[in-house]
Symmetry: C2
């Protein structure tokens, strides 16, 4: 004999791979849960969404987390699509399930009204309805109400249409909805949700190199102390997050000079992504920038301005990183005994050794990385921008992110993966809170419309939170190079007002647009290889526009956050 549950539940959303990983949600933000509910025949269905904190998850504030239930409604008649809106109250792991059944009372009532409309005698049908009502189980007060209603339906002293009206009265409908016996329902789920804190769903990022703050090129580096003094300016523009490229010691072996020259001058500071020297690696602060105490003070100063600090998580080492001596097996060696440097044949990056995740000591490597992340969490960092996550095993990230968020559900991860769409998908599904996007290279109206439609109106919203960056230290795109200040204004408007999260790298406000050479997206005199102190208060700065954009964003926060991305027609752009 086959299963008796009549409703089939399909295409449940939001989900990731049928529930294999959590879909994205945000604490306090309304979330639409939907599904195909398919039943034989023509019965009226009843369906409900049940949301509750995940039993094994740690919610931020457990006491404030509460289970809740919402009735689903048929949102696409004829297409069997049902939906309800629920709101997880706190940050952390949640889950939902969907229960659905054919509702005998609602079906009977609809048919009764059709029969009544056709002028049929309703005597037998009212008796049928009375039996349905009388069979309902309920606690004392509802039980009395059910008994009373069934007596009314059977009361041959009352006119049939009066009894039919009693069956359809709001109180009767609520009573019969409340007392549905869900034991015969099809239950789908539970499906996991990760309810991030609100910043995950709505954020404005500002990236800058602290070593340029107060620097005196070519000799003297800027410091975290000087950088802290710049925070009020950034906060005044309305940004939420200040993201710092790696702040760790920088190796000397293979160091790159200005404009990525393989022959550095003595004073060239090297790329911050060539992490580590004998003084320390991923848990150390570059001595030129200051001390760990200076970093703690910087985080406090940021918090004082309403800013959060995001650190760069770049899982690679300079040849001088302590791990190279301490853990020789974490690096892949060539037959000649040397370590293979990072490369994209025939290009080589002599200042960087990749970590070998195929090492037999992978468990120790992964644990050490987790500890490094937790180290910075211990110093007040709750946001990480992950460098090139797509060059590390895809299964590593869910492991790392889950391990961190199980302890600290408020920690957010931004994936810096400019790569193929399916790889970006796997990273986002694997747990990255936000992702860099192709926005930078979408410049014509049709490209932007198509891309925004894809981001905002497909299943991607279940797992992919775009963060639109107008520039990065690696990407000064052709549109900005050619278009000058008007192009900078256009791109800032588009990023800030079409995407719930956006970001810029400092210098953008000054419309810096000189590329290394024609056809390159690299900056001339890139800050990756030298100090670049700036005169931010120049009269040509577009900071007033950025301030205004972040103000508009805050005013329309609900719209931007709810849709996740706004449709392009909300913007009166000049493209």
């Amino acid at each position: 004999m086959c299963d008796r549950r009549r409703v089939l539940v399909d295409r449940v959303r939001p989900t990731v791979d049928g529930g294999a990983r959590p879909a994205k949600a945000a604490a306090g933000q309304a979330l639409e849960v939907s599904a195909d509910l398919v039943c034989d025949g023509a019965d009226v269905l009843a369906a409900t969404v049940r949301l509750r904190p995940a039993p094994s998850g740690r919610s931020g504030r457990r006491r404030a987390s509460r289970a809740l239930e919402a009735a689903m409604v048929d949102v696409a008649p004829g297409l069997d699509r049902w939906a309800a809106v629920v709101t997880p109250s706190t940050t952390g792991a949640w889950e939902f399930e969907i229960a659905a059944l054919a509702d005998p009372y609602a079906t009977w009532l609809r048919d009764l009204q059709r029969r009544s409309g056709a002028g049929e005698d309703l005597a037998v049908e009212l008796e049928v309805g009375a039996a349905i009502v009388a069979a309902r189980q309920a606690a004392t007060r509802d039980a009395r109400a059910l008994r009373a209603l069934s007596l009314v339906l059977r009361d041959s002293g009352m006119a049939q249409d009066q009894r039919a009206a009693a069956a359809a009265a709001p109180g009767a409908l609520a009573l019969l909805r409340r007392t549905i016996d869900w034991s015969g329902a099809t239950v789908a789920g539970p499906f996991p949700l990760a309810a991030d804190r609100p910043l995950a769903a709505f954020s404005a990022w500002y990236e800058f190199f602290p070593r340029s703050a107060g620097a005196r090129p070519p000799h003297r580096s800027g410091t975290l102390v000087a950088a802290a003094a710049d925070l009020p300016r950034i906060a005044a523009m309305g940004f939420d997050v200040v993201y710092l490229p790696p702040i760790h010691p920088i190796g000397e072996t293979g160091r790159r000079g200005r404009n990525n020259s393989p022959d550095p001058e003595a004073d060239d500071p090297g790329s911050p992504w060539a992490i580590g020297d004998r003084s320390g690696g991923h848990t150390a602060v570059h001595p030129d920038l200051g001390t760990l105490d200076d970093f703690d003070a910087f985080v406090s100063a940021a918090a004082g301005c309403g800013l959060e600090v995001a650190l760069d998580l770049a899982l690679q080492c300079s040849p001088d990183h302590p791990w190279v001596e301490q853990h020789p097996s974490w690096f892949r060696r060539l037959p000649d005994g040397t370590i293979r440097t990072a490369e994209n044949p025939p290009k080589r990056y002599q200042d960087i050794y990749p970590l070998d995740f195929d090492t037999p000591e992978r468990e120790a490597l992964e644990r050490t990385i987790l500890e490094a992340v937790l180290f910075w969490v211990g110093h007040g960092v709750r946001v990480f921008r992950v460098d090139n996550p797509h060059t590390k095993p895809l299964r590593f990230w869910p492991w790392l992110i889950d391990a961190v968020q199980a302890r600290h559900p408020d920690v957010l991860f931004l994936a810096e993966a400019f790569t193929r769409p399916r790889v970006m998908e796997r990273l986002a599904k694997g747990g990255f809170t936000q992702s860099y996007t192709y926005f930078t290279w979408r410049t014509s109206k049709w490209e932007l419309s198509e891309y925004l439609d894809q981001l905002a109106h497909t299943e991607m919203v279940d797992w992919f939170r775009p963060n639109f960056w107008v520039n990065t230290p690696d990407i000064l795109n052709e549109y900005l190079q050619r278009g000058g200040p008007p192009a900078f204004r256009v791109r800032a408007v588009l990023a800030a007002l079409t995407c719930p999260s956006w970001g810029m790298y400092s210098g953008y406000e000054l419309c810096e647009n000189v590329a290394l050479r024609a056809g390159s997206e690299e900056y001339l005199d890139s800050e990756k290889y030298q100090y670049r102190p700036r005169k931010y208060h120049a009269p040509t700065s577009i900071a007033p526009l950025l301030t205004r954009l972040n103000e508009i964003r805050r005013r329309h926060r609900d719209a931007l956050g709810q849709l996740r991305t706004l449709r392009l027609h909300h913007v009166d752009g000049d493209q």
Copy 2:
């Protein structure tokens, strides 16, 4: 520590609900298996599809079923979509799995060629390649070849570019592909496939009422013997299947007269869908049509013409059906003790009692239905057209179809469900071999293009096999009513040449197009309620066109069957 398998396998096709039910295939027909294969970094992947008979399934001819393997190729570079073509050799249950890994040799070779192109010294890299080759495990002959290749790569007496060429020689590539160690591969599956016999994927159906064959209205019914004499005419038009409306005894209680009149004349034969009288029900032959022996002779005569007989499976009863007395609990009763007739309030069908699948004796009901199907299978029937399957529980059909096909994998089921798309989807996913469609109501070019695109170029091909019917005894659509013979020609061309399976109800060749009344799709003097003998050899018959269409279909069988539906631009239609 996280899972070390680097490749993630996603969006595998063909599948139904991630493998919960078998996807559709046909014995001897090439099938494309595809998936997203997503890996970190930039390694070259190797992937394979493994197809084998399902361990628990019964294949039609077990000895001819063989496992096979096919290498997948990247069919959408940049989109990480891979595919291979496999062909299940026999009818029955099959399954496939996908294995994928990063291929160190292929990755090394690609990088070697890039380095060589950049004029780099290859000494160390050739050593790396030699080590990869030397580490491969293989049986004697391949082991010798691997040893020889690794020696060549290490032979410093040979020029580097000569050694690089040896690494890329076809023999070397085949050897290294053949000796891949799949133990580290990601394996997805197994995913079930139902390999139907070829008729499932390519068929032309002809429906007729045997009681009209040789009938003398209003008194005398036609017979199976007379109907058998008509089979050569049908076969000559090139049809594969003759489908008969129910051939069982017809009830008298509630019988409908001509044009569905509630007041039948004494001679009115009633609707064949009002199944059963005291002489028998679903396993009996209507005495007017003949005997069970006559039916057996009809099936043999059909086979002699190359035709298969399809029976109607209509799970409902006339009030006079033996089950009404034998199994009173199989029918739902009203409070007044009467059985509720079929209805779509306020419409009632007094000649039909629906079966109540919520009966406590559901197991006995379901077993009895299974036995009725197997009864007709025992009389040579291998094709069933199922009447209104969407009014029976959706989970009943997978149970019934699996139970029948486990014994007889060659049995096919056509779902007559003209209902909402999601319900039709669930029926098809549940196991129906073919499905009626919305074709009848898609008459403009854009409607047809859009519908054919959906049927042929979406995931629907994994589970939905459309059968385009130009008319049925219930559906004489407006286009035919108004368009006359040219419309009949157009619709036949469209159905026959855009869909692998098509069908017509007799009378179509005579362009019968008089409706019951304006706005109705019912025929005037519908054959559902009376005998309709026809003069098929009328000079106005479009039988020659139908014959020609079925000839063209056979010639283009591969194209039609492979695409499942042809794109509309293959047809030089006159719409």
